[in-house]
Symmetry: D2
Subunit: 404 residues, 4 copies
């Protein structure tokens, strides 16, 4: 394990002239894919754990969601054709403890999706609006063998040579992007404004001090009787955002908000849906095509292309190291308050313990240039987090981490 920790020569993100950040909310087709994949992971993990004491090999990180067809209209329309979701991946199909046990892969997948949708959507009915198919085959023998080795030592071995990138803290623009979506998908807020669909997409562009948030918000047709109610809803939501979100700014920023800019009331074009998501009518999705592990798309920050959603949290470093690098970054920023910003890169080596990356590379930006021993303080945080990684899957099983 080679550890390189050095002062960054990057510009602090808040001082960039431009920032571009996006969040695809809960009901966006890509996020739906990520969300159900993670629910499936939890349930596979729990099943294996309960039957066998630890999660066996699996990896269900590919999925495509095919949008349906619908005929929304104010007051309530119809779904014509359902959303289709195809899940693909690998899993241990059967194993022998005292007796042979078969993994109920079909039931686990169907139930996970049904449960997830019922818990997170109010108007999307899995029995009528979603078709699920899946293709799950055993993993390749080599990878499964490699995976199984961790049982001996308790320390999982990296399943691949892969990179994780994390940073902290979020910028004002990034937090604005997340908090707008969080507000619109807040349970209480939705009780106040039931017309807000779960499919909320936020793009924030900062130029200088001005943050402009462009919000695409699916509206639920049955909750809005006509054009006026629709326009009123948009106006109210905008006001609420402008009231709430700026409270979180650390720097001197101005917020501007636009909602559903493609609306054209004169031609009766509005963003209305039957179920609250554009997936009902033609927007397709995939795992790993939306938010990165910190819930954002940040083209100006280093990012990994690896999709954490659907991966086993034991040794699949495409997931473990993305979460770990974020945990390290956040922990460092929280504990070492003389730092302004930190970037953490972890590179695994296939077959080596996940607690021992082949490279740890850190860039930090101190607030106060005079502080000493920064590197060693950072390093001790790193070691602490790496040491805890063999238990990360338990935290995932308990729903403590989110990757989308």
């Amino acid at each position: 394990m080679e550890t390189i920790i050095q002062k960054s020569r990057r510009v602090f993100i808040e001082e960039y002239p431009v920032e571009i950040v996006e969040r695809k909310g809960l009901g966006h087709p890509d996020t739906i894919c990520d969300g159900i994949a993670e629910e499936i992971v939890r349930n596979f993990t729990r099943f294996y754990y309960e039957e066998f004491g630890y999660p066996l090999h699996f990896n269900l990180d590919k999925a495509v969601l095919v949008g349906g067809r619908s005929a929304p209209r104010f007051g309530g329309g119809r779904v014509l054709e359902p959303i289709e979701i195809v899940i693909a991946g690998r899993a241990t199909l059967s194993f022998k403890g005292n007796e042979r046990v078969d993994t109920p892969i079909g039931t686990l997948i169907l139930k996970s999706i049904s449960d997830y949708v019922r818990r997170n959507f109010r108007y999307l009915n899995p029995a009528e609006h979603i078709i699920v198919t899946y293709r799950v085959r055993p993993g390749s023998q080599d990878l499964v063998k490699l995976y199984e080795k961790w049982k001996k030592t308790g320390i999982p071995l990296a399943n691949d040579t892969s990179i994780g990138v994390g940073y902290a803290p979020l910028s004002d623009t990034e937090r604005a992007c997340k908090s707008i979506e969080a507000l619109l998908n807040d349970k209480d807020f939705k009780r106040k404004y039931p017309g807000i669909g779960e499919d909320v997409k936020v793009m924030c562009i900062r130029k200088g001090n001005k943050i402009k948030a462009t919000v695409a918000m699916a509206v639920v047709d049955r909750e809005v009787r006509n054009k006026e109610e629709y326009l009123n809803l948009k106006e109210s939501v905008k006001e609420e955002i402008l009231r709430e979100v700026p409270k979180g700014f650390k720097f001197n920023r101005e917020l501007e908000v636009e909602i559903n800019v493609a609306d054209d009331p004169d031609n009766d074009i509005f963003y209305i849906t039957v179920t609250g998501t554009s997936a009902e009518a033609g927007d397709d999705g995939q795992i790993g095509r939306g938010n990165r592990a910190n819930g954002l798309i940040t083209p100006m920050r280093p990012m990994s292309i690896e999709a954490p959603a659907g991966k086993n949290a034991v040794s699949h470093v495409g997931k473990v190291y993305q979460i770990a690098s974020s945990i390290i970054a956040n922990k460092v920023i929280k504990e070492l308050d003389y730092l302004k910003e930190i970037y953490v890169y972890l590179v695994s080596k296939i077959g080596k313990p996940i607690t021992m990356p082949q490279i740890v590379y850190v860039e930090y930006l101190p607030e106060d240039e005079s502080v000493r021993n920064i590197e060693s303080e950072i390093e001790s945080v790193i070691l602490e987090v790496l040491d805890s990684l063999p238990k990360l899957w338990i935290e995932f099983m308990e729903g403590k981490h989110r990757t989308y």
Copy 2:
């Protein structure tokens, strides 16, 4: 319309030396296909009727059911992989009345299947145990045009040149076959013996006066704790059958019953299931591969190969004439009590009114050779039934006919 009514030179079925009759019960994979197809027909018919005043063109009479995988065991096992059902057919996807209306084909199909399964099965959960996909495209222009012509006159035109065959009455063997399944799938009987699955298949072979019923009865694993309870259940069911079914015999018949003959208790081989149907573990099915329209498979009687299930009851003569010929036969037998047996063949001609078959061919067997005017009495029944055919779809929509 050419009508040929003549005395039969066939041997009366009850005098055949051998009779072979089969019924695939409610939970058999082929019957599941037929049953859901008919539920879909009812719901499509109703949708079109409510939106437009009459059923538009559709035909959903192809389906394959792919059996799942399961791990049953006494006391309760698991479904591992779901049943997959693929529905194929034609329907009117959109139409213009005062405004354009789109048919919610996906929702209608998914909801029909979900409702049908919930209503007819106790342990089969559509959300976890069944995957549905469908391919529904518009019908060919010519056939749709032909179909639409009936709006003008109120009399549907035959969609095809096709044949329907019906007969009456059922023989003792045939009634035994039906009543065994009816008993085992009776709601009250199932409350008494909850271990009896919905998948009951009955084969009755009569040699001379002896009817031997071979019953394959799926047993629900969670309702039977062990081998003894299983064997006891079989014994009780056998006794009940032997007590109840012979009550319906008209001739001097002996009944013998065997249940689950492939069981091998010494090697722990029993017919147990998690959900009550063999479809959960590998038995596949199709529309139209099981019972004929009278609920039986009767290789020694004339039969049509046409599958009524899934067809539109307006003008799809593969359905209409099978039902019509049965109605005629039963009505004749009921009203003209000097007849022992009757066979009715109806042949349609594509494009002609369904009330006017190109051929009606009837063979009857009189009880009493001296009766006169038989032909004209039969003919008047025929005409009466044919006249009523344009309303048959309404009776189907109301659930008054069963085709499987």
Copy 3:
């Protein structure tokens, strides 16, 4: 084994006032399903045989074909969306001889379909016009065990309690029906008239001495430049049928032929296709929904509902006994020339040798009432054929039998 052979009291088929017979030709969607299923059977049989010395357990007798979409036009149109074929069934996925061998089920299925289509169709290109998916799972343990027992004795055990029905000879109407399709799908005839598509459906209705053949013949658009050529083709084909087919009549019959009666030249409605089959545009199909094992649909004759296509020819009596009963019937008629007609029923018993049906039931109609020993002569033919059944799968593998 109980053998009942008795003189029939049925009317000789040629003396019925009415006869109704149908044949769905090579290119009909149902027949396509049957044909590819049988090609798959041959290739599975051959694979197992070459690897292991005999065919292992399999059964691939469920399939649905979903019609495509096309835009035909005189001179040559386009296929818009392909035909989709879903194959479902059971097979032995792997087995251990000296070493473990895995069945290449996917490759066998895809290659079978591709080969079959290329061999039998001139304009249907599997790479562009057909999508194949399949669901093949292992058979249920009990049935596989039962199946495997035949290795010991060399005599397969019936996989089910099932019935086979055969008869001979074909009537004039039946032969007309078959020979019309045979002519139109004859390779030389097609070279002369390349516009004739493979999808030819023939319905023959005899009333008295008059046989009326209604032919639905898909025409290949690129081979016919305009309306005139189309109408000329129909006229020529009609003349050829009228010249050739009556040569085969044994009785005094008149033949009348109509082709594509739904054509409406004034409204430019013709039966043209891009590929020669209606499957390209909306006609769906299934295994076992078309011709019976003798190539015909004959509602006035006894028939089995069992679909032979796709079944293993070793012990799957739904196939073996249908073929066997036909072989017996034909052999009897050929060898015992004093018989006019014979019907043969074979009933298997699950788990018993296929050479020993539980019932053989035969009805014969003698030409010459004075002949003696008919029963014993028939019986010896029966025994000879039954004895040969354990080798039937080899004949199937070599392509010597056709079931559709």
Copy 4:
């Protein structure tokens, strides 16, 4: 359009202590998805262009590839189950010019995939090894309307608010990564070493001056008779790489190469395949989950998450701006030789001309600090490239750009 061009405060990439770069080669499951998606785009574009004069609306940028099952062995093994590819997206299904034309979406997709695979793979046979299904529906009305507007002015309007990122030049590490794969997939090289499969994945990690390339190279089983030939092949390939690739370095770098590190000859574990790609046995893929538009995965460089593959090159800025930013960056570096490195960000605004991004943000690193007018020279390159974007789709149709 706001243009911000400024000197970068980033460290020059070659001076980073660490660099991590990956390339998923031609035969990797993710790259297969990207490759066929782009072939489909070319063929849809050409079809619309030929029928209508310009590409109509479409977007086919979602796909999942489900790996098959195989049994490779030295000398030649078998594919057991095919790869399944599911394509999802939107397209214009029919349109009216002088007459109604229907898009042959199925034929276009199937033919594209078949052609692409035949052209790029030697042992992967689409007819036997690949199942394709697709779900293509019309785009949402609003987006289609927006798209259609460009016909009037000839300048496409951005279909979304999106960001493109490009940079130049590639670093030594990046070029090493690309050229290793290029060498191994070079047609001549493959003739010399036919055992090299198309599925080559290269990970390059630079620490200081040392570049370590880890190559995963699928080997084609039939081209390698045994362990010795396999090991010899690896050795030869390694030597060739070490001889060829360093020729391209601009800085003082050392190259180290490891091939198939997971091999374990003692336990007979090798990376062999029947078809040359791991997709045959369990490695799944998706569009947009592999290489970015410049053919590399570069977590330490700014990247876009947008998947260019499958998108329409007319106005889908997720594609257009990624290519455009790369073109600008490369052109600037080529023409202004006093620059060391440049990063280009383009941000679109939905509904605005693609020639007028809402933001152009450029960071450059000069070689020579003294040069003047850098910004204006860069700007003129930018304007030139933006002006040419309305013709970009033609270049894509002609195969001049690659996005994976």
